[in-house]
């Protein structure tokens, strides 16, 4: 068994443990012997490009599909029949019943559970107030995702699965959605999130597992992983502001019309530029992100 020990404040209190999970379809190994554990109250990110096996993994954890082999344990116990009463799920792509309003959809899903959150609380938490009487077909992408999140929270679950929750949303809607997830985290609920947006993972996730071709290729907190794999930061300046001899002397690169300086010592470089009387207008300093990490680990981008 290869259990990846994900760092945790409460190192022994795992709410979910995935052990030696394998899922095979005809000729395809969608999930290839992966193991990890998730601590209570954490936001856990499953990262990877399309086809990495994230959705298959999360759907096995949710009890929607069966694993070929391996185990998923909830607080040390196998998935039981009543698991759907205890977890909340937002799928990657879900249609809602046509012709029902948001309020009617909430009523329908409430009827499925023994214990539910008061609707007023859900409406407040997911900001549904302005479109409660709107037909599901007429919701915008952001409104729809907020309703789907409300449905995932309707049974007041301790564990919430969010599969690519912000795919297709505009930047503002994405940031609003992130705030909703932060509010949920603040209630000490455990969130399992799949995404291929690295900024999303960096914003929300306490721990991440990076998957590619069904396997886990790295795991840890975002900061730990970046610190482990990258020592340098990138400094960018408009090309016309930097003398060519300075570029040649320091062997800096030209990338997309900008000078790219890779260094561990930002202060030294800034001092050098000032000494050479280079204008610092338009200067950008960028740290490597998880996208860069994935590129480094696999040789291809997360969005491929």
């Amino acid at each position: 068994m290869k259990l990846v020990q994900v760092p945790s404040d409460e190192s022994t209190q795992y709410v979910i443990e995935v052990k030696d999970l394998v899922k095979s379809y005809k000729g395809v190994q969608a999930v290839d012997d992966i193991s990890f554990a998730i601590s209570k109250g954490h936001c856990f990110g499953l990262l990877g490009p399309n086809g990495a096996g994230k959705t298959t993994t999360i759907e096995i954890m949710e009890g929607i599909i069966k694993a070929t082999s391996g185990q998923v344990l909830y607080s040390g116990k196998s998935i039981g029949k009543d698991i759907s009463q205890q977890i909340g799920i937002q799928f990657q792509s879900t249609a809602l019943q046509d012709f029902l309003t948001v309020k009617e959809t909430l009523n329908l899903f409430s009827s499925f559970y023994d214990n539910t959150l008061p609707h007023e609380e859900l409406i407040e938490l997911c900001d549904l107030k302005d479109f409660l009487d709107r037909d599901n077909r007429l919701l915008s992408g952001g409104q729809r995702q907020r309703l789907l999140l409300a449905l995932a929270l309707i049974n007041d679950p301790e564990i919430i699965f969010l599969d690519e929750p912000t795919t297709g949303l505009d930047p503002q809607a994405r940031r609003n959605f992130w705030q909703l997830i932060k509010n949920i985290k603040a209630q000490n609920k455990t969130v399992i999130l799949t995404t291929h947006y690295m900024d999303e993972a960096e914003q929300l996730c306490d721990n991440v597992v990076i998957m590619d071709r069904g396997k886990i290729i790295e795991s840890g907190t975002p900061n730990q992983l970046l610190a482990k794999h990258f020592k340098n930061v990138y400094i960018y300046l408009p090309k016309e502001q930097v003398p060519q001899e300075l570029i040649d002397k320091n062997q800096w690169c030209i990338e997309n019309g900008r000078v790219e300086i890779t260094t561990q010592k930002v202060e030294e470089i800034i001092s050098l530029l000032i000494a050479e009387q280079v204008s610092l207008d338009g200067l950008q300093v960028k740290s490597p992100n998880l996208d860069d990490l994935f590129l480094k680990l696999t040789g291809h981008s997360l969005r491929e």
């Binding site: 249609a95 012709f99 009827s111």
Partner: protein, 334 residues
């Protein structure tokens, strides 16, 4: 079975149906247009030949039965023949052995045939019957309503389930505590309500204009209609139990519905059809729905009288529902 979940799904499905104006309109106006069209087409005088029922025709020696432009139809006993005479399906009945004849006092054709008959035989006892004529529209009514129910049951359940499966509504429902039994049962009950409501509205509405013939009990008619609906919905559930493709389910539902359209006695009687066709038609639920309803309407049959059709529908419903539930897939597995 959790009744709260069960009724919530029924309510949601009913709301979905009644708010879908295009589908609602089609379900309401299609049978009305069919009835109006057929009533218009068949509103003429009908066939010009007279139809005369003769008891034990093969033993009759009279030259009257050789009269041209008159159809002589053999009957073994007079009860069925007199019913046909009451319904204007026959114009005259003669029993040469008992030296009796029957006329329908309300039928001009009956009067004319009597005059012809009395020209050759004047020593027969005259008996009278009365009855309202069964028009083609009365005869075809159960067929059209049955056909409309068939389309509503097959496509309204089968197509919707496949659409739900394809766009992951089923997958979302599977992630809740809702069981397959609760979901399938709710679809069944919701569709029965919709179908019976729509059929009742169409029947009652059209009755104001057509004044339909009705010899039997409305309760019996309602019961055979519900049994037919359950059977057709179960067939729809079975056909849709696994498919994820709307194109495939469209083909499968057409494959299921067209034989019933043609062979279940919607438009014409299968009395003269080859035996193999009759046997095949007997395997189709619409055949039993239409035949049972028609007997209630035109012959005043009770549920006991049509127990063969009732039993056939119950067996078909049980088999299709059991198989449909067994094979049903939320189909989230890729």
């Amino acid at each position: 079975m959790n009744l709260k979940r069960f009724f919530a799904v029924i309510k949601a499905r009913n709301i979905e149906f009644f708010r879908d104006k295009s589908s609602l309109g089609w379900n309401l106006f299609f049978p009305i247009l069919m009835l109006a069209g057929l009533s218009f087409v068949f509103s003429g005088d009908g066939k010009s030949v007279y139809k005369v029922g003769v008891i034990n025709l093969e033993t009759v020696q009279s030259t009257f039965v050789e009269t041209r432009y008159v159809d002589f139809i053999n009957y073994q006993e007079n009860s069925l023949a007199t019913l046909k005479l009451e319904q204007h399906a026959l114009d005259f009945i003669i029993d040469f052995t008992e030296k009796k004849y029957w006329v329908n006092e309300g039928s001009p054709n009956s009067y004319l045939v009597e005059k012809m008959f009395l020209g050759q035989h004047n020593n027969f006892t005259r008996l009278e019957t009365h009855g309202t004529k069964i028009r083609y529209v009365d005869w075809v009514l159960p067929g059209i309503l049955g056909m409309n129910m068939m389309f509503s049951c097959l496509f309204g359940v089968g197509y919707v389930i496949v659409r739900y499966r394809k766009n992951s509504v089923l997958k979302r429902l599977k992630a809740t505590p809702l069981s397959a039994l609760e979901f399938v049962s709710a679809q069944l009950v919701s569709r029965i309500f919709i179908v019976m409501f729509m059929s009742s509205v169409v029947y009652i509405g059209c009755n104001f204009f057509f004044d339909f013939y009705m010899l039997g009990s409305y309760v019996d008619l309602f019961i055979i209609a519900i049994l037919g609906a359950v059977s057709l919905i179960s067939l729809g559930l079975l056909v849709a139990s696994r498919s994820k493709s709307e194109e495939l389910i469209g083909g499968l539902l057409n494959l299921t519905s067209w034989p019933m359209m043609l062979l279940s006695g919607v438009w014409f009687s299968l009395e003269g059809a080859p035996n193999a066709v009759k046997v095949f038609a007997d395997l189709l639920p619409l055949t039993h729905l239409v035949a049972g309803a028609r007997k209630v309407i035109t012959e005043g049959a009770t549920l006991i009288d049509i127990s063969y059709h009732v039993t056939a529908l119950l067996i078909m419903s049980t088999v299709c529902l059991a198989l449909g539930s067994y094979l049903f897939s939320w189909n989230t597995e890729r």
